[in-house]
């Protein structure tokens, strides 16, 4: 009894705002109408496209990094892991500012990029870079833990049986680490989908170009169009809920244990 009341209070506190928002979104036809507005529709498309591109980049660059962190023996590993984990705890506004200081017109690389005719800030590419910056650590962490848990003896056994490194990776290492990689991937996707602070600072809030769903929640609220704001928010809530539920029911929980393999 004494533990139930405080527990229930917290559950209500956590669930009520989200629940009310979703109910409001679906009450009447507000949600349906709002999704049809150009702002929400464009943002939905932009969010799907940018998060997909971000995921491709994160997997392509993050898997080798995770392998290095899981298997490599080298000095400064703790420092490297800390650097890679840092975006998880950084306020996104800090990430946005930092990206601007590197890629902005007056940024560290800004001039070189301008000479090359490349302008990154406040473009769709900036949205992708912001997402990669804040979301990549979630994938690398999970992938590192998963790869570290793969039994090296199984790989050696495959080698003894004549498998090449490529075959070992494809048929032994990756399948064994797959649940961890998949869990990291969905968490990473939901983080990229929800990315707001770094995006608004580094990519701005231009409809159809950099205005993703979380920015519509903010922008339409500011503009007084509460219904469009609620519709965009509801989409994000349902996506996040679906991701977490999937991770749980598909029994990827072990892969999510951040202590594992660290």
């Amino acid at each position: 009894m004494t533990t139930r009341l405080p527990a229930a209070l917290l559950v209500v506190f956590l669930a009520l705002p989200v629940g009310v928002l979703v109910v409001q979104a679906f009450a009447g036809r507000a949600m349906v109408d709002a999704i049809a507005t150009p702002a929400v529709r464009d943002a939905l498309v932009l969010s799907l496209v940018t998060t997909t591109v971000s995921l491709v980049i994160i997997v392509a660059l993050g898997t080798p990094l995770a392998l290095l962190l899981a298997r490599g023996r080298f000095r400064g590993r703790a420092l490297l892991e800390t650097v890679v984990d840092l975006p998880i705890v950084l306020p996104p506004s800090v990430a946005g500012l930092a990206l601007l200081l590197v890629f902005g017109r007056r940024g560290a690389l800004g001039e070189a990029l301008e000479v090359a005719g490349i302008s990154i800030p406040f473009t769709t590419l900036a949205v992708v870079l912001a997402q990669v910056f804040v979301a990549a650590p979630f994938f690398v962490r999970a992938a590192r833990a998963g790869l570290a848990n793969v039994d090296r003896q199984l790989e050696d056994a495959a080698r003894d049986l004549g498998a090449g490194e490529r075959q070992v990776a494809r048929h032994v290492t990756l399948p064994l680490a797959a649940p961890a990689l998949a869990a990291g991937l969905v968490l990473c996707w939901s983080r990229a989908l929800g990315e707001f602070g770094a995006t608004i600072m580094f990519a701005g809030n231009v409809p159809g170009r950099t205005q993703t769903l979380p920015l519509v929640v903010y922008g339409e609220f500011q503009a007084g169009d509460l219904e469009a704001s609620i519709a965009a928010a509801a989409i994000l809530i349902l996506a996040a809920f679906g991701v977490l539920l999937a991770v749980r029911t598909l029994n990827w929980r072990r892969a999510l244990d951040l202590r594992a393999g660290g």
Partner: protein, 262 residues
């Protein structure tokens, strides 16, 4: 080892190439505009794309100061329409403007309260009453400068307390990023009163106006537009500004309560 890096690098370069390539045939004008112009500009854009075939428009709204910062950092805007002169002037001084500064509209300040007027505000003198929750914009937002002028002018009036300005400041409970956000907070009843532009007040169905004595009305609020130096289509941008100050543009701006610049 090297081949592992080629694919991800190619993706990144491909993205960079996409973002840096010039816009495709129909010219897309990116207009960064003060938040108070949002509704009027929607209609302006609709009219202008009809009047100027081959032009499409993307409009991003925020506080003039935020937009100016984004442009300084390399945001790919063609035109900035600002709610003041100071922000375009700063871009001009930094050599980020092509051509001169064009005044295209005027506006004035009013006090708004939620439609049920919970704090019973009848005259601006009530803004200094203890417990009134005032929503204001940040110091960098142009309207704050105008509001300060009005408050200081009010403080000089005979029936206002000597500490009117300080008492007003003490009542400010929130500093929003732009005028639309200020308006939204009053519409939602989260604040008791706020200074906004007359045009914002007229556009909203859920706020009431409180008149400011003529003696305290600020010097007229002037809206100024500039073509950004890095614009890929400076002629098209210039033509749009010209149209905006012509009879068609003026007529739409007047519909939304904007005055001609004097």
């Amino acid at each position: 080892m090297t081949s592992r890096w080629v694919a991800p690098l190619a993706v990144v370069l491909l993205l960079a190439a996409c973002s840096s390539s010039p816009a495709t045939q129909p010219v897309e004008l990116t207009v960064y505009a003060a938040a108070s112009l949002r509704d009027a500009l929607e209609q302006v854009a609709t009219a202008y794309v009809t009047a100027a075939p081959g032009i499409s428009m993307v409009i991003a709204t925020d506080s003039s100061a935020a937009l100016r910062t984004q442009i300084e950092q390399g945001a790919p805007a063609d035109v900035l329409l600002s709610a003041d002169i100071a922000n375009p002037q700063r871009l001009f001084d930094d050599g980020l403007v092509e051509g001169g500064i064009t005044f295209f509209a005027g506006n004035t300040l009013v006090v708004i309260v939620p439609s049920d007027n919970p704090a019973a505000i009848r005259t601006p003198s009530d803004l200094a009453r203890q417990g009134v929750r005032i929503v204001a914009a940040g110091d960098e937002v142009p309207i704050t400068g105008y509001a300060t002028q009005v408050v200081n002018a009010l403080a000089e009036l005979p029936d206002y307390a000597a500490d009117f300005a300080d008492a007003y400041e003490a009542n400010v409970v929130s500093r929003e990023d732009n005028v639309q956000a200020v308006l939204a907070k009053i519409e939602l009843g989260e604040g008791d009163a706020a200074f906004v532009y007359q045009t914002d007040a007229l556009a909203s169905g859920s706020v009431r106006l409180v008149n400011i004595p003529d003696e305290a009305t600020p010097i007229q609020v002037l809206y100024a537009g500039v073509v950004i130096a890095t614009s890929a289509h400076p002629e098209a941008a210039r033509a749009f500004l010209h149209w905006l100050t012509g009879p068609d543009g003026r007529a739409i701006l007047a519909e939304f309560g904007f005055m001609p610049p004097s």
